[in-house]
């Protein structure tokens, strides 16, 4: 395991401790603990998987080791090591069919792993589900409710199933959950009359019936209109601010970029990248210097002389990967060479570029 803060992408290897302070938008500074003894524990000397159950104990809400699920002879999930730090908003990314939902089902004890182990809030799953799942709110693969019951009656049914839920406070908690997702006005309507967005909201309300330490939300913004999407983002933010850890799977990258502190990227059953957004981004596709100019040939020469990689001509000028060359030096060299510079930017790759570079360009679903 490399030391915390190395900023590299963990490629299906060890769960990575995030470096302290790398999370600009984290609530309450609670993530400071994720440094996990970064300063004191000699992580670098720790052999891989030396203590399978302990990495992340206390500091991580979700840890898996070598998690595998085979359906027949096809591995839907092929040996992944998830590490979701406590307090993080973890974006779980991947194309359709890459194994996200299968992983989430295993985390929640709905299906049994073929191999590997899972620790959820410091308890082994699925053995500890009775103690752990009451603290976990989840929305798995879209909302599912009884069509002929009202939204409120559906929540009442789930509440009745919960040993930890107090019957006397049920009505109040159900209305509070409905209110939190903006569904109180439609509480008495039958579920079958709900729009997709309302159904999704009811699914979120079900996850919020009790106070939670961990929320596992599978595509929570599916079917929501832009306002609804924004509300979900705010909801996730407020849950995280209350100290909950949120694991949210999505394929809407802009959304993940806006609300997540950490990401994990799945591809064909494997976790191809994991870490803070900054770590994953810096280790993935590199920043590109874009020069807007009419003197294309001269500019390209300068960039090549400066040692930029992948210099290419664009419709408005040239571009290249600085690869450590400071931008101000590039600009100075261009000016010295008499290139008429109209514009100069160093563009960080968007998460989308990164996602495509990690998971491939193809349109076909994997598997």
């Amino acid at each position: 395991m490399t030391g915390a803060g190395a900023g590299a992408v963990s490629t299906g290897g060890e769960p990575r401790r995030r470096p302290a302070g790398a999370l600009g938008n984290q609530p309450g500074g609670t993530l400071g603990t994720q440094a996990g003894g970064g300063p004191s524990t000699p992580l670098a000397t720790q052999g891989p998987r030396a203590t399978p159950a302990s990495p992340g104990a206390g500091t991580h809400a979700v840890v898996t080791h070598g998690l595998v699920k085979r359906f027949g002879d096809r591995a839907a999930v092929d040996g992944i090591d998830l590490a979701v730090p406590r307090g993080a908003v973890y974006g779980f990314l991947g194309p359709n069919g890459s194994g996200k939902t299968t992983t989430i089902r295993m985390l929640l004890g709905l299906i049994l792993p073929s191999a590997g182990d899972i620790t959820l809030l410091d308890r082994r799953m699925p053995e500890g589900s009775g103690a752990v799942l009451p603290r976990v709110g989840s929305l798995v693969e879209g909302p599912a409710f009884h069509p002929y019951l009202s939204g409120r009656a559906n929540l009442a049914r789930l509440d009745a199933a919960d040993r930890f839920a107090d019957r006397r406070t049920a009505a109040r908690r159900i209305d509070a959950a409905l209110d939190r997702v903006g569904l109180l006005a439609a509480a008495r309507k039958r579920y079958r009359a709900y729009s997709l967005g309302m159904r999704q909201r009811l699914g979120l309300a079900a996850a919020l019936l009790a106070p939670r330490d961990l929320l596992v939300l599978d595509e929570p913004t599916n079917g929501l209109d832009p306002q609804g999407t924004r509300e979900v983002r705010h909801l996730v933010g407020s849950l995280a601010a209350d100290g909950a850890t949120v694991l949210v799977s999505s394929h809407l990258l802009s959304e993940v970029e806006q609300m997540c502190s950490h990401v994990g990227v799945m591809r064909e059953g494997r976790l191809v990248a994991q870490g803070t957004v900054a770590e994953v981004r810096s280790a993935g596709a590199q920043a590109t210097a874009v020069v807007e100019t009419a003197d294309v040939t001269a500019a390209a020469e300068v960039l090549q002389r400066m040692g930029l990689a992948g210099v290419a001509v664009t419709p408005t000028g040239v571009r290249g990967v600085p690869d450590g060359v400071p931008p101000e030096a590039i600009v100075a060299a261009l000016v010295t060479a008499g290139v008429g510079v109209r514009g100069f930017t160093v563009a960080s790759p968007s998460l989308e570029d990164l996602f495509v570079s990690l998971t491939g360009e193809g349109f076909d679903v994997s598997g």
């Binding site: 299906i111 103690a131 603290r135 069509p147 009745a160 199933a161 040993r163």
Partner: protein, 300 residues
């Protein structure tokens, strides 16, 4: 986390690290919690229009029988249940039970079994329940209890409607048994209670089969049809004399022995064996359902 703390350069301790899992509220006892879930389950079953319509169908049979007898108005003093019907409302209930035992009551149990696990899997609500969490053992136990209560309600509706409508149209009073002796109305009602209990246990055996089938599929209709086929198939096998050796092992074989409760004195032997067979089916198929459901991957 204050800036001062952070400024020390020491790892900031999140409170959660000390108490890895903050105390949850005290859970309700397993029995109390299961009782609450069972009531929710029954509300779901009884609130469903299709099931209400099913109850109406079950209740229609004794009504039709009572009206038919009243309309024909014959009392030829013949032998057997049907002719006894004409003299007393209570026999309307017994006749209706005999008639409905062949198809309607098993069908009702099959319908509820189909919804039980397969129906929840089909809707996707099963994953919601399991992640609440409800342990699979508790869910299966509550589901089975709900099926048995559903069977009891079905039998009660048939017997109760027969009693009410039969009593209204044909009168209630001291009952003449098949053996010729007379018993009081109270005694007759007690014996009707025995009949209801006996048939409920018989249907509980079928419910265990239905529950097991329901864990095998995500299609409630498939589970319902299969359970109906099993019940009807057993009636057919029971009617083929060449395989008489098989008959004692069939679940339905002694169901009609409920009429023994109206002999004088009550003839228990067949019913006692019948109960053992019913319980045997319940245990075997309950165990199979658990073996299947306890480890089943819920992918719906």
């Amino acid at each position: 986390m204050s800036a001062a703390e952070a400024g020390t350069g020491l790892p900031v301790q999140h409170p959660r690290d000390d108490a890895a899992l903050p105390a949850l509220p005290r859970p309700a006892g397993v029995l109390a919690a299961s009782w609450r879930l069972l009531r929710s389950e029954l509300r779901l079953i009884l609130g469903r229009r299709r099931n209400q319509a099913g109850l109406v169908v079950l209740a229609a049979v004794p009504v039709i029988i009572a009206i038919a007898i009243r309309a024909s108005g014959t009392d030829d003093g013949g032998e057997g249940l049907i002719s006894s019907v004409t003299s007393n409302g209570i026999f309307v209930a017994l006749t209706a039970l005999t008639v409905e035992l062949a198809l309607f009551l098993p069908l009702a149990v099959a319908v509820l079994s189909g919804d039980s696990i397969a129906g929840e899997a089909n809707l996707g609500t099963l994953r919601g329940l399991l992640t609440v969490p409800v342990s699979r053992a508790r869910l299966l136990a509550v589901k089975y209890a709900a099926l048995v209560v559903g069977a009891l309600i079905g039998v009660l509706v048939v017997a109760g409607t027969g009693l009410l409508v039969g009593g209204a149209l044909l009168g209630l009073g001291p009952t003449t048994l098949l053996s010729g002796t007379q018993i009081s109305l109270a005694e007759a009602l007690l014996r009707l209670g025995i009949v209801v209990a006996y048939l409920t246990v018989g249907l509980a055996g079928l419910a265990a089969i239905g529950l097991f089938i329901s864990t095998l599929t995500e299609q409630p209709i498939a589970a319902m049809i299969t359970t109906t086929v099993v019940a009807t198939g057993m009636w057919i096998l029971n009617a083929i004399p060449q395989i008489a050796w098989l008959h004692p092992w069939l679940l339905v074989n002694r169901w009609q022995a409920f009429a023994d409760a109206f002999r004088d004195p009550v003839f228990w032997d067949t019913m006692r064996t019948g109960l053992l067979v019913d319980l045997g089916y319940a245990v075997v198929f309950g165990a199979l359902a658990w073996a299947r459901f306890g480890t089943k991957d819920v992918t719906s």
